[in-house]
Symmetry: D2
Amino acid sequence: MFFASDNSGPVPPQVLEALNAANTGYAMGYGNDDLTAQVTAQIRTLFEAPEAAVYLVPTGTAANALALATLVQPFETVFCSELAHIHEDECNAPEFYTSGAKLTLVRTGDRMTPDTLRAAIEAEENRGVHGPQRGAVSITNVTELGNVYSLDEMRALCAVAKDYNIPVQLDGARFANACARLGCSPADMSWKAGVDVAVFGGTKNGLMGVEAVVLFDPARAWEFELRRKRAGILFSKHRYLAAQMQAYLQDDLWHDLATRANSACDLLRNGLEQAGLRVITDDHANLLFFEAPKSLHDALQAQGATYHLMSGTEEATIGRLVCDWSIGREGVSEFLNTLQKLL
Amino acid sequence: MFFASDNSGPVPPQVLEALNAANTGYAMGYGNDDLTAQVTAQIRTLFEAPEAAVYLVPTGTAANALALATLVQPFETVFCSELAHIHEDECNAPEFYTSGAKLTLVRTGDRMTPDTLRAAIEAEENRGVHGPQRGAVSITNVTELGNVYSLDEMRALCAVAKDYNIPVQLDGARFANACARLGCSPADMSWKAGVDVAVFGGTKNGLMGVEAVVLFDPARAWEFELRRKRAGILFSKHRYLAAQMQAYLQDDLWHDLATRANSACDLLRNGLEQAGLRVITDDHANLLFFEAPKSLHDALQAQGATYHLMSGTEEATIGRLVCDWSIGREGVSEFLNTLQKLL
Amino acid sequence: MFFASDNSGPVPPQVLEALNAANTGYAMGYGNDDLTAQVTAQIRTLFEAPEAAVYLVPTGTAANALALATLVQPFETVFCSELAHIHEDECNAPEFYTSGAKLTLVRTGDRMTPDTLRAAIEAEENRGVHGPQRGAVSITNVTELGNVYSLDEMRALCAVAKDYNIPVQLDGARFANACARLGCSPADMSWKAGVDVAVFGGTKNGLMGVEAVVLFDPARAWEFELRRKRAGILFSKHRYLAAQMQAYLQDDLWHDLATRANSACDLLRNGLEQAGLRVITDDHANLLFFEAPKSLHDALQAQGATYHLMSGTEEATIGRLVCDWSIGREGVSEFLNTLQKLL
Amino acid sequence: MFFASDNSGPVPPQVLEALNAANTGYAMGYGNDDLTAQVTAQIRTLFEAPEAAVYLVPTGTAANALALATLVQPFETVFCSELAHIHEDECNAPEFYTSGAKLTLVRTGDRMTPDTLRAAIEAEENRGVHGPQRGAVSITNVTELGNVYSLDEMRALCAVAKDYNIPVQLDGARFANACARLGCSPADMSWKAGVDVAVFGGTKNGLMGVEAVVLFDPARAWEFELRRKRAGILFSKHRYLAAQMQAYLQDDLWHDLATRANSACDLLRNGLEQAGLRVITDDHANLLFFEAPKSLHDALQAQGATYHLMSGTEEATIGRLVCDWSIGREGVSEFLNTLQKLL
């Protein structure tokens, strides 16, 4: 009953098989191998973006920070949700990679809206050299509180950025889960919506540690490559990143894994609601927040359910449940059965 | 006949087996898993350093840059060989991670000597605030030109650093090869010689991408952890780094792999010298530089030998041959036989 | 009728006289001159801080950013008012000087309170390496909206910082005005209240461009000197900074200038309130914000009153009036007379 | 007999007069005053560069570092003399302002030659992402050892940079002295020779602390302004920088001061050579290095001559004599008379 994170489950067997298969003979280092060429071509195809520059990096934090550093100058600011991972959970990585750019928080909790985003951009009004300049907008889909922006919402946020002529970066830690939930294509959720640089995350969705950064405008591709190297993020034995991605792309494994995680979360939501508990997340993909008495949380955890608690009171404390690809119907059932017995 | 790099061969089967074995059930993320605890304890034991702080990172560049950033301030300078990887081949990663510290090159080609190191440190004379301050010394063993510093040489270099009260970082990309060549223990080659922070490299010696950074003084361990996270280098699914290292440590695989690579290089050197070619590297471990007419290099490469050429003339061009753990007696024999036929 | 800024008036004659007097013979460069030694000693005396390290820098932005860079690490965050100059008006200078630290905004408008400061620090809860670490608190007195924190308020804010064992920096752009308003000593308003590093601003209060940074704990004095040099802020002909400060200290000119500016602002406030206009600033020193119909602002400006308008409506638009040391009773009277005629 | 530095003398009376004259009434802050507009226009005229962007900053280190930061990316390197002030004497300011770019030293002592510059650029060969990229060339005229590059030499160095399509920055600490010595126009010594960004230094040549940065291509002017603000270098009371520059430009005071300093140095050189001492500097402007027995230096200094000694032996120690604008014929005569008596 492990619902603490989608960073904690095993990887599917296809990943290990691909690593095995790739582990033969010599391969050029630093991304100059055939497998890397193959998977980056596949990603361009998947995103219907034949001109895009595609790079593999090992972590989501590096993916986000490198993408932002390629888009913004040190004297600029990035507009993002006040709960954004880049603000809350990356220990100043964006500030590090951008050489000191700022993050300006859009003050509407988890989701930005076109209005609140616009207000934040407007508030960073034109004060000449005194304030930071408007640099980029960063969107996360699925959001930190587990919500999925619809395509209309994505398009509307990107349209605001375009009004100010600033680019949009998509933090794609749970790109696949959002995509599967929306039933849309990767292109729909990225450049067709107005995204300039997308992260096609693999780590939370079943890989050991690979994210693809997709720059739809390749003009700054070379700069990205230099920044990646300078950050110590360029793998010499790059085929082992590529092999993981190969497995991820094969037969749309990425989509399959995300669908499994989302379906598990559907079951979970149903079970919680049937048990009379309030689910706070509106439009979930593979994670949700729910409210329960502290004593119930304690009892669940005593029975072996592993998940994080947020702040709250005795009567109503919020818990976060994350379904990874591997939790399955059984994992959810075990949790719900345990819950049932405790009610 | 692949002698271009020790970044291009496959990983030994034990690594994949360890990944397989680790791929079961849930594990806490970000290095809080049991396997990570186990391998870092093993490394402390291996280095006879029960107090040391040990961290896994995926690349050698990140290992070096993080280690230096933990040791030096932005207004300081790092003394290193003028051919050091941190200067030549990391696209300003040390400058990035240290927020703009300088590298001061010791001007004696590949190897620093106590005298040339001292001269460089002295030249960065005490000019108050005007020049950069003396920050650290960085040593690489095996060096860029393939030479192994003896323990006496290591101790003498570290003693110079100690004279100026500055710490020593060891770039350990080929730590295992040097250690195997010297027949010494990891402790001998690091803290017993005067090293403050060592990189115990795994990537060039058979892993997919894992290096251990060993801080013998744990005082700045927490700072290291924060810098690692800020750099986007902290793996969420950390067990897959730990598993590789587990395989590497098991039955001293690290030593075995390095010995294989070194032995292959011994054969290679013998063969080259018997063929009347000049080997430039004095004290080789697993790579060497040799001189041959350009036409001979061309003929070798036409026959399928893969390796890098340095600058040179028609009569004498320098080639670099690197033996990785997997090249084996057969790989070397094939090369030498090919050479024999061309003479 | 110039009320736009306290950066726009002339300097008092004493400053030019001091420059003249200092302009004779040779003087050691880079702060090693006698005059610098003299004025830094005077500042230590003024602050009753015989151990303090004192440095002169030419701008307030440099003073703040250097002070913060000496106090916080790149992976930390600085807690400050959401309107703080360091956040709003320094084009990411703190992020630059600290190599990418973050600013965490205390969300209570202009003034922080102990409760809101504590809440912000608590919200940057202990999440291990994931979030930025708690670095420092930055207080501004007089605040951006013109309010003077009382000594009790200062002490209470500093006490919160001490609860979390983080240092306090005082942005002292209008230090003198606050000090004069409070009728307290510089020591009262700084280290006696719990401030670790204070900026004793001179530029807004009559100098051409000199601020003194006072580090009450000299432990990091040398680091400050190196950071100042590295930032290109160390004046070679340092005596011309020192001479200005000499004039500023002579016969408490700094206090006299601030008192003049504050008194002008008293008159202004009285006049506005007698005219039935709402003054928004509660506890003013030398600047205030007031509300008036947009048409009245327009008419005042058409008559030659120079000041900034904030956002607002036709009925109620906010204007900012700043009294510098030179505006005098006449300047204020002229403004109030003009206002009177327009009502 | 003060020959230690051109940072230690008084400023000419015209500078104080200009400060006095400027010290009246209100002036817009941050460079938006009339005087700033006037002097920047004058500098454009002086440089025959009507399109150039011109900015005033208070120190030479800031001028150099800002100029370089505007020209180079963090993953690039700047080619400069191994004795360059930006390398030796700015405590890593270029690395700070450029967010971690490197300096690559041209290894021919004081002066770069086209051949040695080309060799250094070539050595930073094209190794893809591994090494730093070629960023800019920085030239200093007058050099650190007091030599004046001829216009032909300047043009030849710039031509090498152009061959590699990288811009040239001119460290102009003693721009005026070189210009006066060469009898050329500012345009000749800058853009007509191939310089992209020049520093028109004032501080060493008689101002309290003002340098003008001249960007001949204004494309990155706005970026320069933002970087200047971000660095805390933008003066709020900007008129006091502008006033100094106004005095400097009036009746070519800058040229007159430099000529005085150079002429004093001519006398000095003659005197030293007539005394049988070896002058090391080939093509001096206002400073020179000369060789003498250590005992003679000691005797001179005991008599009150103030200047720096470099390393050397008892028989031959090198001394550096710098003539500032104010030393005059009398200052030099006093020194030479003292010398005469000691021989």
